[in-house]
């Protein structure tokens, strides 16, 4: 039996079509995925992301622990600042991607729902002596879109929201991060369950449109953001997953797990993950084969882009691949073009 978030009934009330996602009953849409997508690009939408795994880590060894288990370096973080990183295995393969917040007391990590058991076990196994790891289920709401902050202020007792991108602030029991997975401005709010249900209803009143996992996927893909398990997994490193920028090589003496393997790979990186736009008719999908002038590649994510009104995707190709390529869709070679993601940011189309 799949788990339910505290907002399960609220989703049903809003007409959510519920599906099992990584062991959670979650809304895939509330009628039209495209309308929900457009609401986030042009106004404001909200996503229940309470299925994600919130892990608080504190104690004198917390920083040393995180500097070992993730490839980015938390030592650079100021209080209330966040960073995006991968956690690697010894071979440099990606175990998960996560956001880490530096809080007044310790750190908060948000890891994927689909990797919960694996990551909690991995953290426990790597734990140092003087630290505590606490899995802390809460409601987590992502409120995203150009009008998201204005509507959040209407829906709450917040008078203003002065948080820079990739920073957070506390408000009573809430942690509000200026983060998201859509390419639009917005926040992700983590808060106790009862307050989360109230916030959902107040946001509805303020005109924020509920958006499901379907819209979340098309929005993140337009924003050029990876989905763990699809665009990257334990057999792929950050260097071939378009997130090489999250690897903190300096200071050289910081021995994070996977560093040695990554250093070897860095000398001759074979592939890159980039964007792809389909020129012919059809829809790109995960696992479709691609032919480039430098050899074969594979579509890792593909969909119909409501903003571009054509099919886009992410693709892993040889590093030297040129712009023009073909994708095999049901046996036919369709013309496509490699482009640099993101496809859309803050409502604007960035690719031709």
């Amino acid at each position: 039996m799949a788990d339910k978030t505290p907002l399960f009934d609220a989703h049903l009330d809003a007409g959510g079509k519920m599906v099992d996602f990584a062991g959670w009953m979650m809304p895939v849409n509330y009628g039209s995925q495209i309308e929900e997508h457009t609401a986030v690009r042009s106004d404001a939408g909200m996503f229940d992301v309470s299925h994600m795994t919130i892990v608080d880590i504190d104690g004198p060894d917390a920083q040393g622990f995180l500097r070992k288990v993730i490839a980015n370096d938390v030592a650079v973080l100021e209080e209330n600042q966040a960073l995006y990183s991968a956690a690697l295995n010894a071979h440099g393969g990606i175990l998960d991607d996560l956001i880490v917040y530096r809080l007044a007391k310790g750190y908060r990590c948000v890891v994927n729902a689909s990797t919960r058991e694996k990551m909690l076990d991995w953290f426990e196994g790597q734990a140092m002596v003087n630290m505590r790891i606490e899995h802390k289920p809460q409601v987590m709401l992502a409120i995203q879109g150009p009008a998201a902050i204005d509507k959040l202020l209407v829906a709450t007792d917040l008078e203003s929201l002065d948080i820079k991108p990739f920073y957070a602030a506390t408000h009573g029991d809430w942690l509000i991060g200026r983060t998201g997975y859509t390419g639009e401005d917005g926040v992700e709010v983590m808060l106790p369950a009862e307050q989360g249900i109230d916030l959902w209803h107040n946001l509805l009143q303020a005109g924020v449109k509920p958006a499901g996992l379907g819209a979340r996927d098309t929005l993140r893909l337009e924003a050029g953001l990876n989905l763990y398990g699809q665009d990257m997994d334990e057999t792929k490193s950050p260097l071939v997953s378009n997130i090489g920028w999250t690897v903190a090589w300096e200071p050289a003496e910081r021995a994070f797990i996977g560093r040695y393997a990554l250093q070897q790979e860095r000398e001759a990186v074979s592939h890159r993950l980039t964007g792809i736009v389909l020129e012919d008719k059809g829809i790109l999908r995960h696992d479709q084969p691609v032919q480039t002038d430098a050899g074969p590649g594979l579509v890792t994510s593909g969909t119909y882009s409501p903003t571009l009104q054509r099919s886009i995707g992410l693709v892993r190709v040889p590093v030297d691949a040129g712009e023009h390529c073909t994708v095999e869709i049901r046996g036919a070679a369709k013309k496509a073009r490699l482009v640099k993601p993101p496809f859309v940011r803050k409502g604007k189309i960035l690719v031709n």
Binding site: S32, G214, K281, R285, T303, Y304, P306
Partner: protein
């Protein structure tokens, strides 16, 4: 509860079929199917003149979410395709039993329609999936 018109015949794979007065069979996907797929964004229609047996693949419908094969409910030869769907695939969501039809077949044997489900039988198929 989805709309299942009593006058149509259905395949368990969610196509509907209607025998027209001119002897051709019009084929589309059910309201249940369009709802399960979500926003339809691309249709790959069969070629005109293609001859298919019952349950052969005869096109693809893609929503934002996923691709799904369309199967011929009865055997026959494709004699018309709905070209309006090329530029406006959303018609499938808006009017699955009307303007959202996919193609027409000249059936090999019109009696094959008898093999298909009636509305009641198809409603059971849908109920089992929910």
């Amino acid at each position: 509860m989805s709309d299942i018109p009593a006058e149509l015949k259905y395949a368990a794979t969610h196509e509907w079929a209607r025998l027209e007065e001119d002897g051709t069979v019009t084929v589309g996907i059910s309201d249940h199917a369009q709802s399960a797929l979500g926003d339809v964004v691309y249709i790959e229609a069969p070629e005109m003149g293609l001859t298919v047996a019952a349950q052969d693949e005869a096109g693809v419908v893609e929503s934002v979410k996923a691709a799904s094969d369309i199967y011929a409910p009865v055997g026959g030869t494709v004699c018309a395709v709905n070209e309006a769907l090329t530029d406006s695939p959303e018609i499938v969501n808006q009017d699955p039993y009307g303007d959202g039809w996919f193609f027409k077949l000249t059936p090999t044997d019109p009696a094959d329609l008898v093999e298909l489900l009636d509305a009641e039988g198809y409603a059971e198929v849908c109920a089992d999936e929910d």
